[in-house]
Symmetry: C2
Subunit: 469 residues, 2 copies
């Protein structure tokens, strides 16, 4: 599904008997108010709002288990909801049903500082977690930009700017408590760093987009705050030159912590919004973590390689305030673009390719977007081979959306052809179901479906996402 329309699936009936039971169990925490339903029927994707029949605000694992048992008894769909920052239509109630709002399950349950781990409820946001553990000298590095919920980040296998050094949610979830489709509470994984104890159910749930179970506790790896941190920007004559610099850094094994590409359009938006006065050329925004000597060494290596590729105007930000300003600006690229194009919506690509292929893929995507005459900008976690080209479309002009989707399809096909993936970190949702089949093959998607049927025989857990059943 990379077309603009929602799938036309008849919503299932939402029995009055179920509603009564939910109201009896949850009282005012079960809502059918239009505004509440509408808020829970959308995400940051360009799809039209598709509200659920009701919303239950869960406050405990027992709440989730009871809601799931009731929904299961009536064969009604259940969609877990965190903060609504997903990008591929994950939260839309395409078959109606119940949205399980987990935002009130926002407690950091345990911090095991001496073991470098913490256990949180799914509604905890990443900024909240880092605020609550500040005194421990540890931090949780995964940073997708948005202040997403840990539950949502786990469900989409999120990553973001720090993943090049610290990995993604795949590498950083140690253990889970999950409520299954029948309302049973199970646990996967342990607090040990590694294990060979049976199937890796933790990794099966990470990235399952709410289709296999509802995560109610998440145990995460934490990391010691680096002794030294330094950020730098460097301007380049072209996107290709910036990416070639990145490729060389990765191939050399430089342990860079963040390596972000912004094209001139992204820099322009950031300047307007954040008044940074940056030169409006392609640039890399980098961060180095380590001991003072190691950070210094990384910085010297990077400057040398960047200069070989025409990089200039190296500017350093060593104080926390300067760094925060730079990263805040980077994270505002999306809103800057929206601000520059009032009323627009964005169609965002999310391919991730083997690092040697990245320059060709970025340059081709840029060329095609310019030829199509659509407003766009590029940001990328280029150290991972992952970049986003965001096309800005006017909702009143459907042909713009079609053109953006056609460009997206070319970006994806190029990624798949060179050994990459259609989605590095956003997930499949409603938007990339056809791409998943192109990438993985029919047989592999059929195997995913058989796992889904085994764990959710009634197909009540976020149905219609990742693949149709």
């Amino acid at each position: 599904m990379h077309a603009t329309a929602l799938p036309t699936i008849r919503p299932r009936p939402f029995p009055a008997e179920l509603l009564s039971a939910l109201q009896a169990r949850f009282g005012e925490r079960c809502s059918q108010a239009a505004a509440v339903r509408e808020q829970h029927g959308r995400d940051e994707s360009p799809f039209d709002v598709t509200p659920p029949d009701a919303v239950v605000f869960c406050e405990s694992t027992a709440d989730v288990a009871d809601a799931l048992r009731l929904a299961a008894a009536h064969g009604v769909a259940v969609i877990p909801f965190g903060v609504g920052s997903s990008l591929e239509g994950h939260l839309l109630a395409v078959q109606g049903g119940l949205s399980l709002d987990l935002s009130r399950m926002n407690r950091v349950l345990r911090v095991n500082a001496e073991d470098l781990s913490a256990t949180v409820q799914p509604g905890v946001t990443r900024e909240q977690l880092n605020a609550e553990i500040r005194d421990t000298g540890l931090f949780f590095p995964i940073d997708p930009g948005a202040n997403a919920s840990i539950g949502g980040m786990t469900a989409t296998r999120a990553s973001g700017t720090n993943a090049v050094r610290y990995g993604t949610m795949r590498e950083n979830v140690l253990a889970l408590e999950v409520v299954t489709a029948s309302g049973e509470v199970i646990r996967t994984g342990t607090r040990a760093k590694k294990s060979s104890a049976g199937y890796d159910l933790t990794r099966l749930f990470v990235g399952s987009e709410g289709t296999l179970g509802v995560m109610t506790e998440i145990t995460l790896k934490l990391y010691p705050l680096p002794e030294a941190v330094s950020a730098a920007i460097c301007h380049f004559p072209s996107e290709g030159a910036a990416v070639q610099t990145t490729i060389a850094l990765i191939q050399l094994g430089v342990p860079i912590a963040r390596c972000e590409l912004l094209d001139a359009n992204a820099v322009h938006g950031v300047n307007l919004q954040s008044k940074l006065g940056l030169r409006e050329t392609p640039m890399l925004l980098m961060e180095f973590h380590g001991s003072p000597a190691s950070v210094q060494e990384q910085a010297e290596t990077v400057q040398e390689i960047a200069r070989e590729h025409g990089g200039e105007d190296f500017q350093w930000a060593t104080t926390p305030e300067e760094r925060s300003r730079l990263w805040a600006a980077r994270h505002k690229a999306y809103f800057s673009a929206m601000h520059l194009n009032p009323g627009c919506r964005t169609v965002t690509t999310d391919t991730c390719v083997p690092i040697s292929q990245l320059a060709d893929c970025v340059v081709a995507a840029k060329r095609e977007a310019e030829a199509a005459g659509l407003p766009h900008y590029i940001v990328g976690h280029v150290g991972d081979g992952n970049f986003h080209i965001a096309y800005l479309v006017d909702p009143a002009r459907p042909e713009q959306r079609e053109r953006a989707e056609a460009l997206n399809a070319r970006v994806v096909q190029r990624a798949i052809a060179c050994g990459g993936t259609c989605t590095g970190e956003h997930g499949i949702g409603l938007h990339k179901m056809d791409f998943l089949v192109e990438e993985a093959g029919e047989g592999t998607v059929a195997l995913m479906r058989s796992v889904k049927r085994a764990l959710d025989p009634q197909n009540i857990l976020n149905p219609g996402k990742i693949f149709a059943l």
Copy 2:
């Protein structure tokens, strides 16, 4: 199953018709010779040999697919076999059937040096892979000691000495080609470093011990050979002091590449076998990777922390020859012990615990082993919280094996009670099925079973391992 007996499951019939079909398809590559069957009915565990009915030597994915289709048509068990170095009874044909010997599928298919990845057949051993990529300046770090096959390492989610820095097979397999229970060939993952494209089937197959599919191609991450490498040994007054040093290093985030504990018994064995003349006290054997400055910095930090815990006699090995000698000795600990106790077999624990709990767990295991009067030694990948206590038992004295299993059970229960796992890297096999239930819970194991039934409805893929169906 942590008792000493094999499960009493009636082997399935092995129809003459199947044998004829296999002989027609594979000719002399299908063998029923007693010696061949016997060789394929054991591993390094202390279980009795349990041979398959026949062995097929596969040379291609098509061979594997054809063998699986034939076995599936007759409902006969299929057990993939690499080099036979697993430790928990994984390879024993407890329900009879067909051993698929994959050791001839030993080609490195593609090395994508510029993307830091390689694709290999499952019979490639880790030493072979590193020899074949030597010219690229890259290496594959996962090192479980034995020269295991990459297929076997993937199937058991192996790790070993370098995992503290580079992760385990879980983190280092990018993509797979798998033959399913019906003989269909599918692919999971891509060569991109990260992906959010649907269920993480790659991680589901990694560690599935041959029970969900037969892996026929494995794409691995490679790493640039570090610019500088240095190894060191340091002696300690007790196991506890050595482990406390390790805990402090991990909590500080020192990027140590290897951090191995040997107790005095292990050092004694190594001395006898390898003539190293080491002081026979508990010791850490460490390795540091990085730039010259970073290695120097790590070394200084480690020395300071070790001294605080009574560490002394720091000895450095900076030449490749010295390092190889040390690591070869470490890897020979197992054979040294066997040599010291001719005719003995070993029962080996494999718990992995949250790092803060490690000193208590090691010290208690040591105390109990000494009190029981069983010959034993301890080696441990202590940077990960993973250690092995190996009890040496005389096969002629079954009460010794019973005593070793009882000690093992106490070590496991202590690990589970403090948030750890019964197996850090060896897998469940036949030996730890009861422990898996204690660790994960009945509901979680039931969920694993439902995944198994979905992917292998006839239960022909390495049946009887991980759990009974």
